[in-house]
Symmetry: D2
Subunit: 277 residues, 4 copies
C-alpha cells in the first residue's frame, strides 16, 4: 500500500513537512512512510512547484529513509505546493519511471491503490489514451495509465469530470473482461495552484484519506507540537493515512468523494461518481 | 550506439569472455564497451543459459566498468551460450527494464540500433503485439517492442521469418506515418541451443556485425594471444564492433543478412528481406 | 538489527536456501529478512565458494526483496558454502563497501550487532590493524574493522583465538574510553571448507544464534516441508534468528560460545572468552 | 581525471551553470563533464549554499549525464556559491561517500588529482588527522583525507596556510615511504562567502586550472553567447579544464599558486609552497 501527502499553503521548507522531530504533526503522518518501521521500500518521490510553472520531481528507488539526497534537499526546498509519495509496488518494476508523482506539463498526479486485473486490460486501457498523449507515458504502472486516461478525458479543463470518466472507462473495460471491482484509489492531482483529491473504490470500501483541520486551531490546542508553530495558517494537508493519536487534527474524506483546495486555502467537497463511456 | 556480443560453444567462464587481459581477442572486442574510454554508460546486461531452461539475466544501470558485482559474477558463470550488451540510450530511461538482453520464456533478444520516429508509431506497433504477449512487455524501448513483434509473428517457430515480418510491419507502419528508413538494427536472439543474428537497415547502411573465424586457426596463427588457448575449438562469437588490429579473426556479416550458429558450431548465412503485412 | 545465515553441506542451489516457498524451513528462517514485512532495508550481500578458492560476493544497497538480480542469481548459484546477510545500518552509510559479507583472500566474515561508541574508539582500533592489512579495509563499518582486527590477531591460523583477542582489544580500548559493554555480536567466518560462528556480548545478553539439527531427522518428522526433501543430509545451517513455529528444527547456540562446522558436517562447540592484550 | 567548477556571484540558477545550450560558455566548460562524450562516469556531486549556513550536497554514483534528478534540481537551485564535481575514480569504490564535494560544517572541499602511493601511506596520514575530526571521515578517498588534514591544520582559520601544511605533511610522509612526487592537485574550498582554489603538484606539472575573466567584457565581446547575458557581472568561475574555443574567457592559474574570490567578487593570487612539519 502506497502512502502520500500533499501540502498547500504559504511556502514552507520541505524539511518541516517530511523530517520534523518525532512528536510533530507531519512526522506522525509520515511515520510509517519515512520512518524505520515501514515496509514501503519500493521507491519514493516528491514533486513541488518552485522556479517556473512546471513542477520539479525528485524520485528514487532507494528507500526514502536511506536517501541522503532527500534529506539534503528537504532542507533546501521551499514551496507552497508539495506532493510526497512512498511506493509499495504491486508488481511493476521498482524503477524511477514508476515512482510517483507523475507529471505532464504543469500537472502532477499520484495514486494509492490499484487496478485489479491490470495486466489483462492494460492493452485496452492504453489504447484509449489520446494518441498525442500516449508517447509521454514513461513507466509501466496502472497509476500512470489512469493519469493519462484522465488527461485524455479533460483533466486540464475539468478535473473531477475527467477522473470520473477515466474511472468509468476502467470499470467498463474491466466489466467486459469479467473483472469485478477493478478500481481502488486515493488520488491527488494539482496544476500548480489548486489541489484535487479523490477517494473512490469500485467495491465501496476505499483506502483512507484525510485532510487537515485548521492549523490555527491546532496550534492553540497543541502548543506542545512544534511544527504547528512553524506551519502557516494557510497550511492545508491531505494524507492517505490516519493519525492514531491526534484525531482532532484530521477530518476523513468520505467514501466516493472528491475535494479541492484552492491557492487561497478554500476547500470544497463533492460526491464522486464514475461516468461510463 | 549499443554494442553487443554473443558466445556459443563449450562452456567457458564469462570472465574469459568479458574481462580477459588487454591483448586477448574478446578484450579487444569489448574494449570500448567495458573499458575506461567508452561512452556506453547507460546500463548493461548479460544473459546466459545455466541451471534450467530459462536463461538468467544480470542487468544494471551502473556503467559496466564500475560494476563490482559484474566482475564477481564473471568469475563464477560458466556457460555455453552467453549474450552481453552495453547500452547507449537513444532517449528512453536508463532503468533495468530497458537494459538488454530481453527474455521471454527460453528466448533472449538484444539489439543495437533503433526505430526512427518510435514515439510517433509506438502506439500502433504495440497495438500489433499479440494480446497474450502484451502484458509481458516490461520496459519502454523500441528494442523490446521489436522482440515482442517478432514473438507475435512466430519467433519461436521460424525466427528468420518472424523477424522479417516484424521488420516489415515496422516499415509499413512507419511509411503510413511518413517516416523514411525507420529500421536500423543488428539483432541477436537465441533459444538456448541455437543463436540467430540479423543485420539490416531500411536505408541499406546497417551498423556493423562480425562473427569469429575458426578459433583453432587463430590459436595457431596467434600463439601470443592467451585467450585463444582458453577458448574451446567450438567457440563461436558474434560481435557488433570490428576489431582494428586482428582483422583475420573476424568475418563481416554482409548487409541485409541473417546467420545462425547451432549448438554443434555449424553456421549458416542467408539474405534478409522484410515482409510487409 | 542485521540478520544472517550460513549454509554448508553438499552443493545446493542458492534459490533453495533463499527463496523457497512459504512453508519451507529456510523460507521461515529468512522470512523477516527477504520477505515483505522486514525493515532490514539497508543493503544485503551473499558470498559463496564456487569457481576458484576465493569466495564470490554479490552485494547491493537495494532492499533484498526488490533485487531482481538476486532472484536471477539465486537460481544459478550452486554452492556448498554460502553466507547471506541482510543489513540494518546503525549509522554508517548504506553503500556496497559496507555490506556484508566482507572478504579477505579466501576468508569471509559477517556480523550482526555492533561496537558501542565506535566513532569514539574507531581511530584507536583501526590503528591496531596490521599495517599490511590496513589498506584492504574498504568500508566504514565497525564490523569490517572487527574482521581486520581478527585477521591481525591470526584469524587464518586459529580463528577462535584470533576473535577472542580482537574482542579483548575492543573491550580494552573501550574501557580506556569509558565505554561499558562495547561488544554485541554474532559473527560467522569461513575459509572455504570450515565455518566458525560466534555468539558473544560484553554485557552477557547476546543476540540470538541457532544451528540446524539433523536434516535427515527433520525430513522424517516433517514430510510436509518440501525443502527438507531438497537439502542433502549433510546440510548444516546457522541462523541469527529463531524460527517460531518449528522449534525442533533449531538448537540455540549458548551465550559466550563459538562453534565450528567442518566440511564433512561435523560440529563442535566451545566457550568463548575475550583475551585482553 | 576528475573535473570541477566553482561559481560565485549573485544568485543564479544551477541550470544556467550546468546545462545551458551548446554554445554557452559554461556548457563548453562542462562539455566533457556532463556531455555524452565524457569518460567521467564514476559519480558526481554538487554542493551549494542556500537555506541555512551549511551547504547542501547532491551526490550520485550514476553518471551525471544520466541523472534525471540532477536535471530536475538544476532548474530549482538558485545559489550564489556552487561547486560541481565529476569523478573519475583512481581506484577507491564508486559510492556516494567518495563523491565530491566533501563537507565539514560550513566548509566544502573538492579535488582533482591524487596522492601517489596512497594505500601505502594512508594509515599514517589518517593517523595525523585530529582525533575529534577523525570520526567525520565518511569515505575512503585520498581527497577526503587531504580535506581532513587541512581541517586539522587550521583550514577554518587560514586556508592557504592549512593546505600548505597538509600538503607538506603528505610530502614528508611520502618521502619517508620512498614515494616521489606524491601530490597532484587542483583543489577548491569555500566557507560560504569566500572561495579558495589551489594548483600544485610535487612534480611541478600540475593539472590545469582556470578562472573566468570579467563577464561584462565577455558579454560585450560575445553577444552571440546567450549565457553571458544570463550570468551577472559579479559572476566568477573557476574550472579545472581549459576551453579550447574561447581563450579570451579564461585566465590560467599559474603553477604552484592559490587564489581566492571574495563574496564581492574581488580576487587575489599568491604563491603556494608546502610546509613540511
Amino acid at each position: 500500500m502506497c502512502r502520500w501527502m500533499t501540502y498547500s499553503g504559504e511556502p514552507v521548507l520541505a524539511d518541516d513537512l517530511l523530517f520534523r522531530p518525532v512528536h510533530s504533526l507531519i512526522d506522525q503522518a509520515l511515520h510509517s512512510k519515512l520512518g524505520a518501521t515501514t515496509t514501503n521500500g519500493d521507491g519514493f518521490g516528491i514533486g513541488w512547484y518552485g522556479e517556473g510553472d512546471v513542477p520539479a520531481l525528485f524520485k528514487s528507488t532507494e528507500p526514502a529513509w536511506n536517501d541522503e539526497n532527500l534529506r539534503e534537499l528537504a532542507g533546501q526546498i521551499r514551496t507552497g505546493l508539495l506532493f510526497a509519495h512512498i511506493r509499495a509496488s504491486t508488481g511493476t518494476p521498482v524503477q524511477r519511471s514508476n515512482c510517483h508523482p507523475f507529471r505532464h506539463g504543469t500537472w502532477m498526479w499520484m495514486h494509492n491503490g490499484g487496478i485489479t486485473g491490470f495486466p489483462t486490460i492494460k492493452r485496452e486501457l492504453v489504447g484509449a489514451v489520446a494518441p498525442e498523449l500516449y508517447p509521454h507515458i514513461e513507466g509501466s504502472t496502472d497509476s500512470e495509465v489512469l493519469f493519462y486516461l484522465a488527461l485524455t478525458f479533460g483533466l486540464r479543463d475539468d478535473p473531477p469530470a475527467a477522473v470520473e470518466r477515466a474511472v468509468g472507462l476502467v470499470e467498463e473495460v474491466a466489466a467486459g473482461a469479467g473483472i469485478r471491482h477493478p478500481v481502488q484509489m486515493t488520488v491527488a492531482t494539482a496544476d500548480g495552484s489548486t489541489t484535487w483529491a479523490f477517494r473512490y473504490s469500485s467495491v465501496g470500501r476505499s483506502r483512507s484519506l484525510y485532510h487537515s483541520t485548521h492549523i490555527g486551531q491546532l496550534r492553540r490546542m497543541h502548543p506542545e507540537v512544534p511544527v504547528f508553530g512553524t506551519l502557516p495558517d494557510t497550511a492545508r494537508l491531505i494524507v492517505s493515512e490516519p493519525l492514531r493519536d491526534m484525531p482532532d487534527a484530521w477530518a476523513e474524506v468520505p467514501e466516493s468523494c472528491w475535494g479541492m483546495i484552492t491557492e487561497d486555502g478554500r476547500g470544497e467537497q463533492h460526491a464522486f461518481a464514475p461516468r461510463r463511456p
